[in-house]
């Protein structure tokens, strides 16, 4: 087992590089690392710190292994793990096998095109490349339907039927007008659009239930939430719990409204902590702040629940009892189940056998073989944890500098907090698969990072708002490269903003928005100042 050690020769080589280039550096505003010493680069260039930044700015910029991965000799593991993110999963053809019985997508990259943000879509199809949407299906009180998985599946392998028939899903894009008529004082205009999603009752194969009780179709609501980029998650994981707590305390002291489910007066609310052994860690991932340590956060879970590929820490199926009941009683499924799954003919009662297969209950150990091996899962987590953040670009440009100054001055930086410093990154694994600070994974200790997020939830009160209204400030790092890396640059949780201006102006749609005052100030800036802020946001 390799121990994490930055070999002295690597340190020597890096310092040779630094001193050599410092010696010959020219006075040039547009310094890049090969043209200037690290300390001469504008602050914020190393978005992921020295251990977590790549200077790649072309279409593979989101895909590089961090220097921490290289230093730890984990590049081969990184490349092996990357396969499981990029490839299309099959039912039983190795090595990317295990798809189904129900699934959300057949590959990870389909939702994370170019490893970045999902793309705005006019229709919901699981096989549309770049469709990063999850369907958020709730009742009119924001309670998830219990008969569907939290991330509903629209695909099934034979002989099963999908919980929702995606051909019937309708996405309409509607126009909104803000109190200013979508116009700046100087006359420049912008558009605001937002989605409405309808799924007819006939499209649901499962009964409509909340908490196990039937609800009328009229109470069902459907919204969309998109993926964001996957790079940099390892660095976010390395932010100390205490630093997050200090941020909440600071915001509370300023009178910022905080989600009582996360912050209770002057300490964490019980539901803020993600269980991990005998203790808990404050949640820091997803819009709804549902996940804590990275080792059991969206990636570790998605490698299982998006495709339903089992691995040593996740041996069940992503499934609901309501679906299992429905399918087990479906004569079409009963007629064919033993043809497709002969090895699950365990009792001779096909309804029982279907139910047990789907719910993975009463299954003999001989059938509990992980579809993805522990080694493959470990490699995948090396890749997941080890993705570098692209360096900021053009920070020395005078317009970008002006934009950076204004970004703070008008208050954007309160929620889009520019930087953090990571701790010792002796990470934990709620699944117990990895040890504390396990040397099989790359670590990012004591790095100054620039994600531009406070990792706290705020409310924008947009039209057809995100579920519950509370939304974690999405990190802004790397997004300026989205067009090159993914082919699109849609922003906000449902991809409603086609550009930075639209994203900013949605922040001011409602006077109740936590960002309203900042948007008012933004509106009153000159065009060149507004453009400077946009240029800054694209540079980080």
């Amino acid at each position: 087992m390799k121990t994490l050690k930055i070999r002295p020769i690597a340190i020597l080589a890096v310092s040779l590089l630094v001193s050599a280039t410092a010696f010959v550096a020219c006075a040039d505003e547009n310094n890049t690392p090969s043209g200037g010493s690290i300390s001469e680069l504008p602050e914020g260039t190393y978005t992921g710190g020295e251990l977590g930044t790549t200077f790649n700015s072309s279409s593979s910029a989101y895909e590089d292994p961090a220097p921490a991965v290289e230093n730890a000799g984990l590049v081969a593991a990184f490349k092996a793990g990357e396969f499981f993110f990029e490839r299309t999963i099959t039912q039983n053809t190795r090595p990317f096998n295990g798809l189904g019985p129900l699934y959300i997508r057949s590959s990870c990259e389909a939702c994370h095109p170019g490893y970045g943000h999902g793309k705005r879509m006019d229709r919901y199809r699981a096989d549309d490349w770049g469709n990063g949407y999850l369907l958020v299906v709730t009742d009119d009180q924001d309670n998830y339907l219990s008969s569907l998985t939290g991330m509903p599946q629209t695909k099934a392998v034979a002989p099963f039927k999908a919980p929702i028939d995606e051909d019937q899903i309708q996405i309409s894009w509607l126009y909104a007008t803000d109190r200013w008529g979508n116009q700046f004082p100087d006359g420049e205009t912008y558009a605001l659009i937002y989605p409405e999603v309808t799924i007819p009752e006939a499209a649901y194969y499962v009964p409509l239930q909340v908490g196990g009780n039937t609800i009328p179709y009229s109470k069902v609501r459907v919204r969309l939430e998109s993926t964001i980029g996957v790079y940099g998650v390892g660095l976010i994981d390395a932010i100390p719990d205490d630093s997050l707590k200090a941020q909440y305390q600071k915001e509370a002291a300023y009178g910022v409204h905080l989600n009582p489910a996360i912050w209770a007066g002057n300490d964490w609310a019980p539901s803020a902590l993600y269980a991990c052994g005998s203790h808990g860690h404050p949640k820091r991932y997803t819009y709804a702040l549902t996940r804590g340590p990275l080792q059991d956060a969206p990636g570790a879970n998605a490698i299982w629940n998006i495709t339903n590929v089992t691995h040593p820490t996740k041996m069940g199926h992503y499934m609901t009892a309501a679906y299992a009941t429905k399918a087990s009683q479906d004569p079409d499924v009963q007629a064919l189940f033993y043809n497709y799954f002969p090895q699950y003919n365990l009792t001779g009662n096909v309804e029982t056998d279907i139910y047990n297969y789907l719910m993975m209950t009463n299954i003999p150990d001989s059938l509990k073989v992980p579809e993805m091996s522990g080694d493959d899962y470990s490699n995948f987590m090396v890749w997941h944890r080890g993705l570098a953040v692209p360096a900021a670009r053009n920070l020395g440009d005078k317009d970008v500098q002006r934009g950076k100054h204004l970004f703070s001055q008008i208050g954007c930086a309160y929620c889009h907090r520019p930087s953090w410093t990571t701790g010792d990154d002796r990470f934990h694994d709620p699944n117990g698969f990895f040890d504390e600070g396990d040397s099989r994974l790359p670590r990012f200790p004591y790095q100054k990072i620039w994600p531009y997020s406070d990792f706290v939830q705020h409310r924008l009160y947009m039209k057809n708002d995100i579920r519950t209204g509370w939304c974690r400030t999405t990190p802004l790092w790397g997004r300026g490269l989205s067009k090159i890396c993914t082919g699109a640059s849609d922003r906000l949780h449902d991809c409603r903003a086609r550009n930075v201006i639209e994203a900013i102006m949605w922040h001011g749609y409602s006077t109740q928005s936590d960002a309203y005052e900042s948007v008012v100030k933004f509106r009153n800036l000159s065009k060149s100042d507004r453009d400077a802020i946009v240029k800054f946001i694209d540079a980080i």
Binding site: L17, A20, S58, K79, A80, Q91, T93, R125, K483, S489
Partner: protein, 386 residues
């Protein structure tokens, strides 16, 4: 590990050398050290490498559909062989495009759509047992149905390969059922549609009118936001509206594309089976043409670097000539690394699937690694000009 250290140390040398040279340059242009020739090189890349490659690919994909339609109507061994020949020619052109997968191939998900592997064999068998789906595939819009409903693990080159080849050879016509041919024709139609999409995405109006019409009829995305083709976008590198802020950035992107495929061939395509001895990682298992695939991937890099596809190069405005002026010893290293990779891959014992752990494979991996590394030095040199 050694490879990364070597690359750090060589970057020190390269950076030092290039930094000294670039100090004299004019500070007014955004690429302080640019010579002004970069936009021409980027343009030539589009005209002489990308366009001929995608045009040939689109034409061959179209021909493949015809050959499969003929085979379906008249199942003879001769017709199988004819289809196999065109299949392999189309595949050659695709593999020769893999040094520039950035742009449409990635943005529109065309690469995973036409080149996912391995095939989902269980999914295929389920499909063959589904009369309703087969009827849809057999219809006039079978290609559209396939593209919309089969999923990437049942589409593209490897689905067709599964029908036409076994154990490295064309199948006997008698070994292919009518339903399998229905599938093959529909999947080939979808493959053709996507190759048209690639072609039109880069060529824009220069693509054959019939191809443009087809792509419009299918409502397939062919432009960057703002309505430009990928070719136009790259030709306008450094000008307003282009996604490339400078022409040098366009050259970096081109080199990065070459690096990506060099690394993938060495580390993944050869490396994963070789190091893990796992035959399931091998890409073209039915036709057993993996080594030709690898070779063509490196030819792709050579075409990009030398200013055009084999037989139609204009070296004057190639990256080779450009780097020759900037740093002739680095240029010589690149040429040597490309030739070395080609030689070492050619020396791999065929077929790959029966010789996974041969020592020659390890040498080919090292050669690809070295090529990736030297291309990294080229990008470091280019970055210094910015």
């Amino acid at each position: 590990m050694k490879r990364i250290l070597k690359s750090i140390l060589t970057m020190v040398v390269a950076a030092t050398t290039i930094s000294l040279a670039s100090c004299e340059k004019d500070n007014n242009s955004s690429s302080a050290g640019a010579t002004g020739n970069e936009a021409v090189i980027a343009s030539q890349f589009v005209e002489k490498t990308v366009k001929p490659t995608y045009s040939a690919l689109a034409a061959k994909a179209d021909e493949l559909v015809q050959k499969l339609v003929t085979l379906k109507a008249t199942p003879t061994d001769a017709n199988v062989n004819a289809a196999c020949e065109v299949f392999l020619e189309a595949r050659d052109w695709w593999e020769k495009s893999e040094a520039f997968l950035f742009g449409a191939a990635t943005d529109f998900g065309i690469d995973p759509h036409i080149d996912s592997w391995p095939l989902d064999v269980d999914g295929f068998n389920n499909l063959m047992a589904s009369p309703a789906m087969l009827a849809s595939l057999a219809g006039d819009d079978g290609d559209v149905y396939a593209g919309d409903y089969l999923g990437n693990a049942l589409l593209g080159f490897h689905g067709i390969e599964y029908i036409l080849f076994a154990n490295g050879s064309p199948k006997a016509a008698s070994a292919i059922t009518a339903d399998q041919m229905t599938y093959a024709v529909a999947v080939a139609g979808d493959l053709r549609n996507r190759c048209f999409q690639l072609e039109v995405s880069w060529l824009g109006d220069d693509a054959p009118a019939a191809h443009v019409e087809k792509v419009e009829e299918l409502e397939l995305n062919c432009t960057l936001n703002g309505g430009r083709s990928y070719g136009e976008n790259m030709r306008n590198a450094g000008k307003a509206g282009s996604s490339y802020a400078t022409a040098v950035a366009a050259l970096e992107a081109i080199i990065d594309g070459c690096r990506t495929i060099a690394d993938e061939v060495g580390t993944s395509k050869i490396g994963q089976p070789y190091n893990g001895e796992d035959v399931n990682y091998i890409e073209s298992p039915y036709s057993q043409k993996s080594i030709i695939d690898f070779y063509n991937n490196i030819i792709s890099i050579q075409n990009v670097y030398m200013g055009g596809v084999e037989g139609n190069r204009d070296e004057t405005n190639s990256l080779h000539a450009y780097l020759g002026r900037l740093n002739s010893s680095l240029d010589a290293e690149v040429i040597a690394a490309i030739n070395n990779a080609l030689t070492k891959i050619d020396a791999m014992p065929k077929p790959f699937v029966n010789n996974i752990t041969a020592a020659a494979n390890g040498e080919a991996i090292d050669a690809c690694s070295a090529l990736d590394e030297v291309l990294g030095k080229v990008n470091a040199a280019l970055r210094n000009l910015e």
